[in-house]
Point group: C2
Chain length 366, copies 2
């Protein structure tokens, strides 16, 4: 193991807490704990997979493999615990050079009341080990609070246990602004690449702003409009379906897949809003005219598709122009010009929030 | 080597370009290339170290080791090249779980005219190799542009060569708003932990906003007010000295070191602005009253020190309250509650920019 610079800085050391007899370990299958963003979690007997175990053979192998990453999943509960730990088993310690282990393989903690969930910390894995235990806090007053733990964005989580004070209780968490979830389909950007923490991708950030359950069906490099995914999405009774897969298809494949994908959802859900998103504007557009042309042509097609469906009498199809939200030449917005940083994700979430409010939360609708 | 998820997503593959006969490799010691942020670069014969080679034995070993990371260093030039590559040799491929290889060991490219430098991309290292070659672009029109390559924030760079088109020329880059640099002294946050790219820490971002050369003397975990560092800083003829080391000292050490550090600078530079910065407000403050007390007590001392020096007749000492700039409970601002993400860094840079403008760039000063 090569020594990294954190040996020189104690603030960057990761600490495995010593064993304590007053910690009670709880499974996410606890009846008062709600696991959000993983609609088949109970059906899968506690497997952290974004799809039901039964569909493995129906999907392209890449989509299935990526569905094993619990992107957008979170564990929520209410408790009067005075300490909080987690114990994690990941598949291994693999990660990417674009994204820190903290974001791909770690867990974020947010705590607070309705519409005021605050960031309390991140459980960051060790560089070389697939298993780790972290203590978020200890010795706080035994008052009831809401807890939300966001799960790894880019790694197949194998098991997770929550450590609370032995004498504390667990209750169901607060309820959301609406009971149905928002379901996003898309790419690596949708999945959360390359957020620094699992709580800072645009979907989880948007979920906190709006107080909605989010379901993240982003598949890194594999948002190719697979009809099997549309079929699975249609099984979810959603508040809104968001299609965000332009970055993973060329214009031909977009034109081939968009109508069938849309129809599969619309057929089963006559009036549910379907929101089409253009891609963020990539840095390379400033010097690569062919890329601009490609981004524009897919965006043009998406807009024409939107206009056509409106004309055909679908008032519940919507379009939002992420291309000019995470806009041309935005500094610090990407790791590599394509995959947003926490800054890029915060911009997308902040600018998409009013779009979802307009569609879902107008005060007067008739 | 464990396989990471980028095997499933071609957009996350890193490409080593094939050899081309029309590439000319240029050293940063080229007479028309300006290396900024590393004031002893020429004296060190092209070593990417933030301090002169001769002072190694004078410094604490941790400070010396960290000075080998070229944080805040950048290579700037003007060229009509039609392609750009870099060839890098790092010490090894070590990195931290809080910070992607792209930020700690990579190189960022910005291109454009005065006050409009735009992000064009990042050279991201391979996971397992200390050497890498990347192509930022090829086949653009042969027009003159300014180029800026930001160097690794958290890794000792061993060598770097710039590949341009064989028939292209290199000229000195555009000049800055002022000829003297801004010199920052501080901690891991100052050094750039945990930015996703070398261009997105707050110092490099601020340098672009203000068009000033920045010198980054942040030393991860080791901004302990070392008087030897003050001595070296005083050798630099600066536009402003910024002291930003509260996060690495307790109140005792702050009180012991601040006056000698300040005096060392003030003695040699009677009228140069000295700016004192409080630390960002850490996430843990929401649930750890002892940490709040510690952050407040050091900030209180800093403010009292500022007031005292003003009373003693120093009109060129300044204070800026980063504590309420990267403020309480800001979402997506940190990796771990302490080390900013690109979002946190962008907030600091954006809010510090008017402070530096007020001190350095008022239109009417008398």
């Amino acid at each position: 193991m090569k020594k990294n610079i954190s040996r020189l800085d104690k603030n960057l050391h990761l600490i495995t807490p010593s064993q304590k007899s007053d910690v009670k370990w709880v499974s996410p299958l606890h009846p008062s704990i709600r696991v959000e963003g993983l609609p088949w979690f109970l059906k899968n007997n506690g497997l952290f997979n974004r799809f039901p175990r039964s569909v493995e053979k129906m999907l392209r192998p890449e989509v299935w493999a990526l569905s094993e990453c619990p992107a957008g999943g979170c564990i929520t509960f209410r408790s009067n615990t005075t300490l909080l730990r987690i114990k994690i088993k990941n598949k291994d310690a693999s990660h990417m050079p674009h994204m820190p282990l903290s974001g791909s393989n770690g867990v974020s903690l947010f705590v607070g009341e309705n519409n005021d969930l605050r960031p309390w910390g991140t459980a960051i894995p060790d560089m070389e080990s697939s298993e780790f235990e972290r203590e978020f806090f200890t010795n706080i007053p035994p008052e009831e609070r809401n807890y939300r733990l966001y799960l790894p964005l880019y790694h197949p989580l194998q098991s997770l246990y929550i450590g609370i004070a032995k004498n504390s209780i667990i209750k169901p968490p607060f309820s959301h602004a609406i009971s149905k979830p928002a379901v996003f389909y898309g790419t690596s950007i949708t999945q959360g690449g390359c957020a620094s923490t699992p709580g800072s991708d645009f979907i989880n950030t948007l979920g906190r702003i709006l107080n909605i359950e989010m379901i993240n069906l982003g598949f890194s490099g594999n948002g190719k409009g697979d009809i099997e995914v549309a079929k699975l999405m249609a099984e979810i009774n959603a508040a809104i379906y968001v299609l965000d897969y332009l970055a993973n298809v060329n214009n031909d494949l977009l034109q081939k897949t968009l109508f069938p994908f849309y129809s599969k959802l619309r057929h089963k859900h006559k009036n549910t809003p379907i929101l089409l998103l253009s891609s963020p504007c990539f840095w390379q557009v400033d010097f690569n005219p062919a890329l601009l042309k490609e981004q524009e042509s897919k965006r043009d097609y998406l807009m024409s598709f939107y206009v056509e469906q409106r004309k055909n009498g679908d008032p519940n199809i919507h379009f939002a122009d992420v291309f000019d939200m995470l806009a041309f030449a935005t500094e610090n917005a990407y790791v590599d010009g394509v995959h947003p940083t926490d800054h890029g994700f915060t911009i997308i979430a902040t600018r998409l929030a009013p779009v979802l409010k307009r569609i879902l939360f107008r005060n007067i609708t008739k």
